[in-house]
Symmetry: C2
Subunit: 152 residues, 2 copies
């Protein structure tokens, strides 16, 4: 996960992150603020391990702390959680433009699209099934442009 490529140039996200935690009635701790900041600095979804690798450079933090924080933040709907086709999870800030996943069958590289073909059809599904739809996860698999070149 190329973190530096996705840095947010301006900063003072920390203060905002504290508000987010307060609003959710979660204790405001240094570690949680740092974790939320990771997502503010990133323009792609992150795994627990991504967050760990970003933070360990400057902080002592334990992977399980990250898992627990991500779980609490997802419960409070501050983050959303999506399952990738390999069974691992990625998280992103909720309310962000939501992104869907493009996985390359050849190289495994993951790309994201900010485009959702689903939203229009949710009412349709509710009326067909009686399910109240509160979220959705969509992943495409295919062959990325780079691999297409190589295969030729």
């Amino acid at each position: 996960m190329p973190f530096d490529k996705n840095r947010c140039p301006n900063d003072s996200h920390g203060i905002e992150s504290q508000k987010i935690l307060k609003n959710a009635n979660l204790k405001m701790t240094k570690k949680r603020v740092l974790i939320i900041d990771c997502f503010k600095h990133s323009n792609v979804p992150l795994t627990a391990d991504d967050v760990f690798n970003i933070l360990r450079e400057n902080t002592n933090i334990n992977l399980s702390t990250i898992y627990r924080a991500l779980s609490a933040l997802t419960d409070s709907e501050i983050l959303t959680k999506q399952t990738l086709s390999d069974g691992t999870y990625v998280f992103q800030l909720n309310g962000d433009v939501h992104r869907h996943i493009l996985t390359c069958k050849e190289c495994g590289k993951i790309d994201y699209i900010e485009f959702c073909p689903i939203e229009k059809t949710i009412d349709d599904i509710t009326s067909k099934t009686g399910f109240e739809i509160t979220g959705h996860s969509l992943e495409f698999t295919g062959i990325c442009p780079d691999c297409k070149k190589k295969l030729k």
Copy 2:
């Protein structure tokens, strides 16, 4: 997985399953035929464990045999593989009406819909991203009708 509820009344699927294997240049073994038959008998996607529980009643079969067979069958595009939101995999016959997943947040129950809001938009995504889309996985989360009643 309520297998008996989903049984196909008529039968002689075995012979057809052998053809499928032959066409894919896979060795035709008893176990593989049995595994394919499971899918022919089921009208819902199955996990490796579902298949195991169905077959163990009448057969000696090992879970890893099932995993390896499912993997070979998926590679040969006889089955498709989808990842559920809990990170586990479900398989279904390829070319079947394809089904998308509805998971209830409350009770975890999984339901399937034979309705795909995606197909129309695939060309759109290809032109936007350069990805050649070969598959997709879509899962909805929400609250099932039963749980909605209970919550009231």
